[in-house]
């Protein structure tokens, strides 16, 4: 009997050896199959943040309910019963759920992206084969803010528009696959017995965009679009030194949280996809080119033909008749005839190649998708009239972003920077993976020319210029209006308008370039009137946000008796001087020679008085506020050798309406006391609206 027993034990041992120690692919495979599972860790999409780290796009986890129908079958569960218990929680018909639960296979969605309390309630039911998992949902906490810049993702999490599209692979991150152990109830476990919970993330984007400036831009733009009944509009705010986009607004707005509710046309970022003939805005670049080429100087005078100039077989008109104007005045009043004559000195080929140099006719290369390059036809295909139209901005299509970049070049001393909007790509642990360094595309004009242009463009904001409504009060600014005609695609005729105001500020030490364009405003179309106030609102917000000292503070800190080889007024925080440091005379001098004799400043505002004394090598003492009532020395006195200038201000007695709304461009500023003292040779009525009628029809 003991022998039998020994035999039995030996049999068991033999069997155990066969099972344990002998290779057996059938058993090994079965073991692997049941104990190991591949777990896909879907990465959480990276955040998009503004320059201050404020969230613009985030991904949140949202629970979703799914079922393992096969598990339900294996455990003998009743689909009808399970469905009946789920139906009230999910608010879905029990019949549909039962049908889903009877589907073949191991996975079927029951309800995606359900409220958390519903998910918890379902988990607590512990229904066989019914589970809850976390999915990611993209949220844009600021609603419409920068909607077109951010773009959006589809339901499968892929970026479809904007930054979401352009940086999709970055934001999305890498899906991780892990082999984990699985238990008999098909739950995943790590060897330590803990479920895999590690989160995988995509990279974060930190933009150059500033939420506050963006908000101000969208707000002001929306108001203007509503007020002037425009079809659409755009605002670009750019850091002139780097080309970094601080704001890029499109109207009408689009909330990427609910992108599907919006018309597809509102998904596009106008600033880089909207090609338009910008009109007189381009005069600034044409004149800059002519100055740089040396074919004119600011003082070169042209006969503006009293408003009608025969050019080939066509006649070019100005909105107001002018006699002889120098280049500075041509820009200030935006004379088509004068600009055409400047262009004639350059010639078609030069105009074309200069425009190319400014970046027109080609994409800027910003790190956003869908950018248009505009349309700049080769000069060889030009008709003779095209030289004139190109000079004042018709027949050539540009984008707001191109204008902003070119404007920045004027402002920063002549360097065309490549615009960018993504400052950094950061990995989930916060380390910087990629950082965008400012890139100079090319030097377009010399610092000296740029300084001259800044002064001339500052003149546009003066009384008699077209940009008075765009003034920033506490900051100096330079700008240019543009009121272009637009072809109605239905009729093929110039019937609509595109109104723009572009500029930069402060003049002494430019920080931001701002482009404002409204497409098809119906109630009014002068660029200064329609777009100027937007420039004003956005500019003030931008400079405040960037901590640029307002004018009185700057003046109070003016150094005494400084020889001022460069601008004396640069705030210490500003990096601009270093950037434009090649002695360009960046700042206050602003292109105009300092006056030799004391001008009559009575009635002038503080800002205007200071501007007109710019470059004077004397200490300036300020008293009071309002308009200038007293000055020392008296008008006409020689300034050479004078060590101090005293200016006293007092509130003006009759309330002057310099910014009276609705007053039209030309008339309101005329009433301002400063108008009489304006040094410009133009008569008081010359508030050019910047409107330019195209002569005849162009092919």
């Amino acid at each position: 009997m003991l022998g039998l027993f020994a035999l039995a034990l030996a049999a068991v041992l033999g069997r155990a050896v066969w099972l344990s120690a002998v290779p057996n692919e059938q058993l090994s495979a079965a073991l692997r199959r049941q104990q190991q599972a591949t777990v896909k860790l879907n990465p959480r999409r990276g955040r998009i943040q503004d320059r201050a780290g404020r969230d613009l796009a985030v991904s949140v986890t949202v629970p979703s309910v799914f079922a393992d129908p096969q598990f339900l079958v294996e455990t003998g569960g009743d689909p009808v019963d399970v469905a009946a218990r789920l139906a009230p929680l999910l608010d879905l018909p029990a019949a549909d759920l039962a049908k889903a639960l009877r589907a073949p296979g191991r996975f079927v969605w029951l309800a995606r992206q359900v409220p958390t309390d519903v998910a918890t309630a379902i988990e607590e039911l512990r229904l066989p084969g019914v589970r809850v998992t976390d999915e990611f949902e993209r949220r844009y906490p600021n609603g419409t803010l920068a909607g077109q810049v951010l773009g959006f993702t589809g339901t499968d999490g892929a970026g479809l528009e904007g930054l979401e599209k352009r940086f999709d692979s970055r934001l999305r991150g890498r899906e991780e696959r892990h082999t984990v152990l699985r238990d008999g109830k098909r739950r995943n476990i790590t060897p330590e017995g803990v479920a895999v919970t590690r989160e995988v993330q995509g990279d974060d984007l930190v933009l150059t965009l500033d939420r506050n400036i963006q908000f101000a831009a969208e707000q002001a733009l929306a108001e203007a679009v509503t007020k002037w009944e425009a079809r659409a509009g755009l605002v670009v705010v750019m850091d002139v030194q780097t080309g970094a986009v601080l704001a890029q607004a499109t109207a009408p707005p689009m909330d990427p949280n609910y992108f599907a509710r919006y018309d597809r046309s509102t998904w596009r970022d106008m600033s880089l996809s909207f090609n338009y003939e910008s009109g007189s805005v381009l005069k600034a670049f044409l004149i800059s080119s002519a100055l740089e080429a040396g074919v004119v100087t600011p003082d070169t005078r042209f006969d503006c033909e009293l408003g009608a100039y025969r050019f080939g077989r066509r006649t070019i008109h100005d909105s107001h008749p002018y006699g002889v104007l120098d280049v500075r005045e041509i820009l200030k009043v935006s004379s088509n005839i004068g600009t055409t004559k400047v262009a004639e000195r350059l010639g078609a080929e030069a105009v074309w190649s200069w425009y190319r140099a400014w970046g027109f006719g080609q994409p800027t290369g910003i790190d956003l998708p869908g950018e248009s390059g505009g349309i700049l036809r080769h000069w060889k295909s030009w008709y003779p009239i095209d030289l004139a139209t190109h000079a004042f901005g018709q027949g050539v299509s540009v984008t707001g972003l191109q204008i902003a970049a070119a404007l920045s070049a004027v402002a920063n001393g002549g360097r065309l920077m490549r615009p960018y909007i993504v400052q950094e790509v950061r990995s989930p642990d916060g380390s910087v993976v990629e950082r965008t360094e400012p890139t100079e595309v090319r030097r377009v004009i010399s610092p000296g020319t740029a300084a001259e242009m800044r002064g001339m463009m500052a003149g546009v904001m003066e009384e008699g210029g077209t940009g008075t409504l765009a003034r920033l009060d506490d900051y100096t600014a330079a700008g240019k209006t543009g009121t272009a005609q637009k072809v109605n695609p239905e009729t093929g005729r110039y019937q609509f308008w595109v109104s723009s105001f572009v500029g930069f500020a402060p003049v002494e030490d430019p920080r931001v370039a701002i482009v404002v364009t409204l497409d098809e405003p119906r109630r009014h179309h002068y660029g200064g009137t329609v777009a100027g106030p937007v420039f004003r609102a956005v500019g003030r917000q931008a400079l405040t946000t960037l901590d640029v000292d307002p004018l009185p503070d700057r003046m109070a800190r003016l150094p005494v008796n400084t020889p001022a080889p460069a601008g004396p007024a640069a705030p210490p925080s500003s990096p601009a001087l270093a950037g434009a440091g090649s002695g360009s005379g960046t700042a206050a001098a602003a292109g105009e020679l300092p006056p030799a004799v004391m001008p009559d400043l009575r009635g002038a505002s503080l800002r205007e008085a200071l501007r007109r004394l710019a470059g004077v090598q004397a200490r300036i003492d300020l008293e009071g506020s309002g308009v200038l009532t007293e000055q020392h020395p008296a008008p006409g006195a020689r300034l050479a050798g004078i060590s101090s200038v005293r200016l006293a201000f007092a509130p003006p007695a009759p309330p002057p309406p310099p910014s009276a709304p609705g007053g039209g461009l030309g008339s309101a500023p005329v009433a301002a006391p400063g108008a009489a003292a304006a040094p410009a040779a133009t008569p008081g009525r010359v508030g050019s609206p910047g409107a330019h009628r195209r002569e005849g029809d162009l092919p």
Binding site: M1, L2, F5, A6, A8, L9, A11, V12, L13, R15, A16, V17, L19, S20, A21, N24, Q26, L27, S28, A30, L31, Q34, Q35, E74, L181, D183, G184, K185, I189
Partner: protein
Amino acid sequence: MNLVPRGVDRALLLSVVSLVVLGVTMVYSAGGIYAADLHGDRLFFLQRQALFAGVGLAGMAVVARIPYQAYRRWTYPALGLVAVLLLAVLAFGTSAGGATRWLPLGPFQLQPSELAKPVLLVYLAYSLEKKQELIETFAVGILPHLVVVGTILALILVEPDFGTTMTIAAILFAMMFVAGTRPRHLLALGAVGAPAAYFVLMGAEYRRKRMMAFWDPWADREGTGYQLIQSWLSFHGGGVTGLGLGNGLQKLHFLPAAHTDFIFAVIGEELGLAGVALVLGLFGTLVYRGARCASFAPDLFGRLLGTGITFMIGLQACFNMGVVTGMLPTKGLTLPFVSYGGSSLVFGLAMVGVLLNISAQASRRSATTKRESEARADHPDPEPVGA
């Protein structure tokens, strides 16, 4: 006080205690996760098994001091008690896994069929000894035992508990054989019993399926073959050295009954072939020493009882390990001293206590014999023999 009575078989004792310690450990390892899921307490099975082990070992120590001859008197009352308890199970027992085998007893449950084992062993030893003169006759030597044991087995079979029934039936044959029944009678009995067993076996659908499963578990790997395949996978995963104590994966809801009937597979997975060999060695020692003790028993009752106990333990262990390794059809038998289960452990240890008493008496007798023979030579005044 000396826990271990003088003269007991220390190898036997050591092997049993080792099995119990291994059992408590493995019950925790194999059942912790299941316990946590079932009762919200990983320690649920461990605490209870440790308690059963304590009670069982204490009981064993007590039983080892009781002269086994005393049980003769209690044979029939005990049989009656077992019959009543088994009837009570049928009347209001609690069920698990499709079988009704337990009587609720406060926080615990009594499994009367485990009590039936020692009682029937005592009965058979007592009765076969008493009828020793007429053992070769069918009417006296066989029939009464068949009737008594058969009655009890019928009650167990209807629970149903086929494994226990088969084990006890086998013991019946073995003890009758040892007691000197004519092999002819036993063969005839087998010729009648085997077909009966076969019909019982194949008559019930679930048993037939289990039979088929044992033959080819892969044919229905998600159904009847599932448990056996999981058991094989446990051994295969463990290899020679095992995954280490507590590191088994099959107990994670793959291997059903990991802490009870299939604990041997968990040993194979966590302790490897080495653990398997250890268990086999312990049972080998237990059976060898038990059989040796029985053979040295001072009387036929002791010899029969000791043999029955040893054989019962050994047989059940072999059945269990045969099932777990897939050499026998699944019967629902636990691995003695190792599997989770209070009744099995307590009554099993009590039986070992009887065995130890037998061994103590045997060693004292042989010591006495030895001393007597020596005394005859050297010491004229030997001590009187105890018991």
